[in-house]
Amino acid sequence: MFENLSDRFNNAFRNLSGRGRITEDNVRDAMREVRTALLEADVHLDVVKEFCDEVQRDALGQEVTKSLKPSQEMIGIVHKRLVDLMGPATGEGDTPIMMVDPGPTVIMMSGLQGSGKTTTCGKLAAYLKKRGKNVMVAAADLQRPAAVDQLRIVVEQVQNEAKGNARVEFYGEPDKCAEYGKAVGVAVQVCQRALREARQQKMDVLILDTAGRLHINNELMGELDAVNRAINPHQIFLVVDAMIGQDAVNSAKAFHERLAIDGVILTKFDSDTRGGAALSVKKITGAPIKFLGVGEKIDALEAFHPERMASRILGMGDVVSLVEKAQQEVSEEEAEKMAEKMSKGKLTMDDFLKQLRSIRRMGPMKQLLGMLPGVGSALKDVNVDDKQLDQLEGIVNSMTAEERDDIKLLNKSRTRRVAKGSGTQTSDVGRLTKQFEMIQKMTKQMSGSGMMGKMKAMKEMSKGDASMMPGMEGMKGLPGFGSGRASTKTKSHKSRFKPRKKRK
């Protein structure tokens, strides 16, 4: 199936030397790869077609910079184009949630069934509470059984668990609930009463949770329309499940035509979806992507970064998110020390073990793998077994301190001892040390060089013999091992992205 886009590009451009122009012929091959990559990421076909045409226009006749391979140039063009189309990042150019004065600012949620509206109401309330805004959340879903209860409980969680001292209130009329399709229209009055209540209580924000509905259900779409007319919300958000496929454009289009969407929130990004819906929905509505939902808890709301999304859609891995995750595990100091060691090729088995442990603490390996370059596609076959990782730890633990400092000390008899101590075979130990030496070499290369060097090292790494690593069958090398850490030296998101942004 899909492999790393850069590999595919290399293939498409293999007949072209480092210099020269990108021509129609070699671009056509490359564009087929882009098309496949985008379709596999669930970007809508029409959007893909338009995108490819535009990129082709951009790319044709581009002078290939001497230092770059045409394939890299193309990736740059594709990536940049995606970023431009999906941007801006959360809060770039506007505040994520625009406030009106006098309040309350009214926000209305909309979307298909099960997309995550109710949960997101809670997340937004928590977000606003933290920023000192008094929030009321009103239950206007009278269709789904217990939807009012669900929202009430979610609001209680925000009251009890979210940071900040601002007031968070729930508004609901559980007695107005009806069986599916029977209480259509009642939601309008509930929203009106909620607004009155919010005004009276001097709330800064009122969030309306509406029932999920199909964009082709006229009656229920009409209800949303009626709420919109009666209340005139300041902002209407469309909540979209990030795992949605080609149909994203149909529903987004219908909701947008009815309501004129002001912002999009993509949920369930904690899954392994490539998230092409981000591009489709942005294209259809033109509305900025305001937030990403990354979990079921009320604080699982993240800002949207088009650069990361572009990498994810292209299957290039989301290194930045990985780095951020790693940062939560490793202190700045530790990271600096590690980076220093790596640049000198002085990585020891102890460091290795430490990193291995923190990688494991970071969460499910598969989720992590999805964030790494070159392995996004290998993901489906990856079988990371925690037990095998235990075995690996066992091997390292059976080494003496000196051996862990200098792996070269491991001669035959020492190897035998280590194998015995860890209950493994000498071949297991041998494999580990060999792989470790490779990593040592590569991390050195990586931390020493700039962006391009890193990419090169990544590529080499992804060619590494994965099966050599116990516990990481199918995982190409031990990617990201230390590599992300090295770049923790750059601190803000902005600066981290500079190399990519600058590239023309």
Partner: protein, 309 residues
């Protein structure tokens, strides 16, 4: 023996609607035309936009192209027939009815990702069974999501079907344990278990699901008799991973394709078939307990080539 025999003759509103519109779709495009490379490209668009996926679509289209180039398929109508036969051949003629245990109770476990439609599907299955005169016990094993137990309790009330509940935050496996005991003690025909939505990437939650399955197996050696994965018909390519990983965790016996009443075609089940051999058994076509139908490959494929929105 199978359930849902009676359901076969039901409303079928979702699919008949699309069948009528079918003439406006691919058939309209191809009917009375001589097949060409361009028309074949058009057909590919239908497959891709139905979420069939690049790989599966390409395979199907390339085989059609070969037939065309060698002159075996030359008319538009023939292309449709060829396609349908190609697509259908991917689904073996299996028994799509729900399993029934030789000894009561039959245990049906329902799982899937967040918001897929599990609880509603449970209500739909419960009603169908009830209407066939079977006694049903529901188990509310989603102890995690806010209001999840209340949601199922409302269905239990509306349908007049009893339910075993656990406290919010309780171990779902212990709720299932109690429910299995209760099902045996009460001598019900079917125990129907609703679980919390979870992403296939959440390993701990997937392990929890395996544990739930094992708890049933300990009490009822050949159970659960049916393990249904509820898939959202709007899902994109990621559903292949969903199916694969849920299958690894709980050995699914069938797929319930929910939300097929929208404009999404659910073509992802063709791609899923390339990965796991599990039949699609039921489709959801609305939000009421009546909105369920047995999966019909013919009607499904027809609907896939329809453009009548």
């Amino acid at each position: 023996m199978g359930l849902f025999r009676s359901a076969v003759n039901k409303i079928r509103k979702g699919l008949s609607r699309t069948r009528e519109a079918f003439s406006g779709g691919l058939r309209g495009l191809l009917f009375g035309k001589t097949l060409s490379e361009e028309l074949i490209d058009e057909i590919e668009i239908y497959l891709i936009t139905a979420d069939v996926g690049v790989k599966t679509s390409t395979e199907i289209i390339e085989s059609l192209r070969t037939e065309f180039r060698t002159g075996r398929v030359s008319r538009g109508e023939d292309a449709i027939d060829y396609l349908k036969q190609q697509l259908k051949s991917r689904w073996s003629d299996v028994d799509r009815s729900l399993a029934v245990a030789t000894k009561k109770p039959t245990v049906i476990l329902v799982a899937g990702i967040n918001g897929a439609g599990k609880t509603t599907s449970v209500a739909k299955i419960a009603k169908s069974l009830r209407d066939e005169g079977r006694s049903v016990l529901l188990a509310a094993a989603d102890t995690f999501r806010a209001g999840a137990v209340e949601q199922l309790a409302i269905w239990s009330d509306r349908l007049g079907v009893e339910m075993i509940r656990g406290a919010t935050g309780a171990d779902p496996a212990s709720v299932v344990y109690d429910a299995t005991d209760a099902a045996i003690a009460r001598g019900v025909d079917v125990l129907l278990i609703d679980t919390a939505g979870r992403l296939h990437t959440q390993e701990n939650l997937m392990r929890q699901l395996t544990k739930i399955r094992n708890v049933i197996g300990k009490k009822i050696p050949d159970g659960p008799h049916e393990v249904l994965l509820v898939l959202d018909a709007t899902s994109g390519q990621n559903a292949v991973n969903q199916a694969k990983i849920f299958n690894e965790a709980i050995d699914i016996t069938g797929i319930f394709l929910a939300k097929l009443d929208g404009t999404a075609k659910g073509g992802i089940i063709l791609a899923i078939r390339e990965t796991i051999d599990v039949p699609v058994k039921l489709v959801g076509v609305g939000e009421t307990p009546d909105d369920v139908e047995p999966f019909d490959p013919d009607a499904f494929i027809d609907a896939m080539f329809d453009r009548g929105e």
